[in-house]
């Protein structure tokens, strides 16, 4: 493409600080150097290159530990203020590789939750994320039950992990729990569980101790480089500060996850746009004339761009709202949860839709590894369907209807 992709998507420039600009720039340089400029090489040798490339982002630039306080050797980005910065960073990572983007989004969503508990929680996890080894966090959200069972619910969604009081702390138990991804890799789990009253909350479980069992490697659609597995927790002890009690904590986790994964998927779609832009400027069709100059193909390109551009706007908008809890509420409030669920669903769906359209223009190249597009398609689908949760988009609609129309539908 002739135009710089960074000049094609508008957003309120006042929302992006100088510091954000700087870190965004260094992530973009990493992306261009390590992946975008040699994407085929990256894809052909993913097993080797993924951890290597990831390390240079996470450890050298410091994107792992980005949100840990500076005195714990993190980069000290604090939420909610840093929301606009986080989406810029994740967009850049997602543009390079949605798998690496996903890993960071999981960590940042966990950190956003830790913020609500104050400094001690960060101290506990800093050795994992602010050292010189790669580590990741996984998230276990409510999923589904089996016919006949009765389970505690979060907004209609069955919660399978059980948290019980145990002296000054708690224990958590649950079997066959399915993380969004990273179940095999993660050092820490953010787990939606329910207490003995059936009230949901979020438990942050460090996976180094006894009682945590990982199942077999799960083969899946996308997010290569991340390995997933079912998790069993067998009365794993949990310090008091690591149990974030109440539905607001769960909503908080969902709100930030929607924001952060939204930025990753939009970034992935932007990466595809560069690929298809090149293709359309080079490919001759209908016996003469470039693809980009054919009105039908051009209008498909425009449709794809529109989905990406509008998604990016929505993500900025949500980031700004989360960054200013005084305006419409905090990430744990029902209003912001509703907005985040709605925006998150829309953005994932639009990003996927955009990539689908771009693939149509690439034809078989859209489908072949060498076309440099199909991985983003699989990655975004994996993120999108996982984020829906069992029941699919319908459940998110019901979240919205309950808040906006005072519906009692579950």
């Amino acid at each position: 493409m002739k135009k710089d992709i960074n000049q094609l998507f508008i957003y309120p420039k006042t929302w992006v600080s100088k510091e954000t600009g700087d870190i965004t720039k260094s992530v973009r340089q990493w992306a261009n150097k390590e992946i975008v400029s040699r994407r085929l090489e990256f894809l052909d040798d993913l097993d080797t290159l993924f951890p290597k490339v990831r390390a240079s982002l996470a450890l050298d630039i410091g994107c792992q530990g980005l949100m840990f306080p500076a005195d714990l050797d993190g980069l000290g980005l604090e939420v909610p203020d840093a929301a606009p910065a986080l989406i810029m960073v994740l967009k850049e990572i997602g543009r390079a590789d949605a798998g690496i983007g996903f890993i960071h989004a999981m960590e940042y969503a966990l950190c956003a939750l830790l913020t609500t508990a104050g400094g001690n929680a960060f101290s506990q996890l800093a050795p994992l994320f602010c050292g010189d080894t790669l580590n990741s966090a996984a998230m276990i959200l409510p999923a589904c039950g089996r016919t006949g069972e009765t389970m505690p619910l979060f907004e209609g969604r069955p919660v399978a992990a059980v948290v019980s009081r145990n002296g000054a702390g708690f224990t958590i138990s649950g079997w066959g729990l399915r993380p969004l991804d990273l179940g095999m890799d993660a050092a820490v789990f953010a787990v939606v569980g329910a207490d003995s009253d059936g009230t949901p909350g979020v438990a942050v479980v460090v996976a180094d101790g006894e009682g945590v069992t990982r199942g077999e490697n799960i083969l899946k659609t996308g997010l290569e480089g991340c390995s997933n597995a079912n998790i069993d927790f067998n009365s794993v002890p949990l310090e008091s500060m690591m149990w974030f009690e109440g539905e607001a904590a769960v909503r908080h986790l969902y709100s930030w996850t929607n924001l952060l994964l939204g930025a990753v998927s939009v970034g992935a779609a932007m990466g595809c746009m560069e690929v298809v832009g090149e293709w359309a400027a080079d490919r001759v069709i209908k016996g003469g004339g470039l693809m980009k100059d054919n009105p039908l193909c051009a209008s498909v390109l425009a449709e794809a761009y529109e989905e990406v551009a509008l998604s990016w706007t929505l993500i900025h908008h949500l980031a700004n709202a989360l960054a200013n809890p005084g305006e419409w509420g905090d990430a744990g409030d029902l209003m912001m949860f509703t907005q985040a669920q709605m925006t998150g669903r829309r953005v994932q769906s639009s990003a996927l839709q955009a990539i689908n359209k771009m693939m149509e223009l690439m034809a078989s190249e859209g489908y072949a590894r060498e076309g440099r597009m199909e991985k983003a398609w699989r990655d975004v689908k994996t993120i999108q369907s996982g984020l829906c949760g069992v029941g699919g988009e319908a459940l998110i609609r019901l979240d919205v209807a309950r808040y906006v129309f005072d519906s009692n539908a579950v």
Partner: protein
């Protein structure tokens, strides 16, 4: 009732053979494909698992002979009034297990359609090539080598471009054609083909249909070179690679029909390709429906089965309803094709048949991509799990949507017919 038997099957259009024929294929799918399909993705290069399944179907069950006349050891579908119905049934039943494997099997017959379908049966060529397929215990894989590096779907767009952009050439030298050119991406390339069907030109740059030639080229001949397969997002049982023809010589009667007629039968097999595409998509959707049926009956939200939540019910009902609509359209496409030699019927290469077939294929493609995507969503975090067998269909059907010129060419051909366009 087995859930997928609920889908429409218009009684007035079924061959009496359809049910028993489906049962044979279904057994193969359930015994030889479904238990192994989760491992196919890793088998893309070697086909350790895939080739035996193909051989069982094509050779042991004799499916590679179906189009050949009975007197040559075939099943005679090529002259049956129910050819399209039976081919569709086969595509659907196979693709319920794995659409790539279905594709590999069916594409093996695709090029043969240029000379084995009534009213264009070329008996001399049939007799010549029958021994590769019939009365043999060897798997014979055929490949229609259509696409060229520069042109993308231009070659399928024959009504607009009349083959003007084809660069693969055929030159008559005595009683032999000499073929030169480079093709890529066809199903059953990547090293496994025994026989190619090759659209080419006898006069490069010409848009005279007489200069378009379709020539059968055995793969063992000197000058034929195949690359290994490409890696793709799915469809592992379908190998795609490059083929180079370097002064390859074949007897002159390997040209399937002759000047003018070659272009017609080539357009005609595009219609057949569209039928196959719809059949593969249907098979994938039928399987997704079965899996979804089971999932929403056994899993809960809000402590009730998913299917009893009205909002989820709306989504899954729409998915099933869309599948039923695609089933109905499939049988209309079958009718279009199987009435080709009947009163009121149109030949496979007629503008009307192509436009309507394109339209149905484009529609079914969009539905399957969207709805299988939605089915994945209903499974939430389990949707992307290979063990659920939904995501593989999601990956596979995208390919069906993209091939044969993709959606844009489908739209163009439909518009050309419905609005009498001249430059579209």
């Amino acid at each position: 009732m087995i859930s997928y038997e609920k889908m429409s099957k218009p009684a007035d259009r079924l061959s009496p053979m359809e049910k028993p024929f489906r049962q044979v294929i279904r057994k193969w799918t359930e015994d030889d494909v479904m238990p192994y399909r989760r491992q196919y993705d890793e088998d893309w290069k070697d086909h350790h698992l895939i080739e035996p399944a193909m051989k069982k179907l094509c050779v042991d069950l004799g499916i590679q002979t179906v189009l050949f006349p009975e007197e040559l050891g075939g099943m005679g579908f090529g002259s049956s009034d129910y050819m399209a119905g039976l081919m569709f049934a086969m595509c659907e039943e196979m693709a319920r297990g794995d659409s790539a494997l279905a594709l590999a099997n069916i594409c093996s017959m695709w090029a043969l359609c240029t000379f084995l379908l009534k009213p264009n049966i070329n008996m001399r060529l049939a007799r010549e090539l029958a021994p590769m397929f019939c009365r043999t215990d060897k798997l014979c894989v055929c490949c229609q080598a259509m696409t060229e590096p520069q042109g993308g779907s231009d070659i399928e767009n024959i009504d607009l471009l009349h083959g003007k952009t084809i660069r693969t050439t055929a030159t008559l030298d005595g009683n032999e054609w000499v073929i030169n050119g480079h093709k890529l991406w066809p199903t059953n390339s990547g090293g496994i083909a025994n026989l190619f069907g090759v659209p080419c030109t006898t006069n490069p740059g010409s848009d005279d249909p007489d200069d378009f030639a379709y020539i059968m080229v055995p793969a063992h001949l000197e000058g034929v070179k195949q690359s290994g397969p490409y890696q793709k997002a799915g469809m592992a049982a379908d190998k795609n690679g490059d083929i180079w023809f370097d002064n390859v010589r074949v007897p002159d009667f390997y040209r399937v029909q002759g000047p003018g007629k070659d272009a017609e039968v080539f357009k005609g097999i595009v219609t057949i390709g569209l039928l196959g595409s719809v059949g593969f998509g249907m098979g994938a959707m039928m399987n997704v429906y079965e899996i979804l049926y089971d999932f929403v009956n056994t899993h809960t939200i809000g402590n009730r089965p998913l299917k009893e939540n009205d909002a989820v019910a709306g989504v899954i009902g729409q998915i099933a309803g869309d599948i039923d609509i695609c089933r109905i359209l499939s049988y209309e496409l079958i009718r279009l094709i199987d009435s080709r030699t009947k009163v009121g019927g149109k030949p496979l290469h007629s503008e009307e048949t192509i436009a309507k077939a394109r339209n149905i294929k484009a529609f079914v493609s969009d539905v399957m991509v969207n709805d299988i995507g939605k089915a994945m969503d209903v499974l939430g975090g389990y949707g992307s799990d290979r063990a659920m067998d939904v995501e593989k269909h999601w990956r596979d059907v995208k390919m069906i949507q993209l091939w044969l010129g993709g959606k844009q060419l489908c739209q163009a051909e439909a518009t050309r017919y419905f609005f009498d366009c001249e430059t579209i």
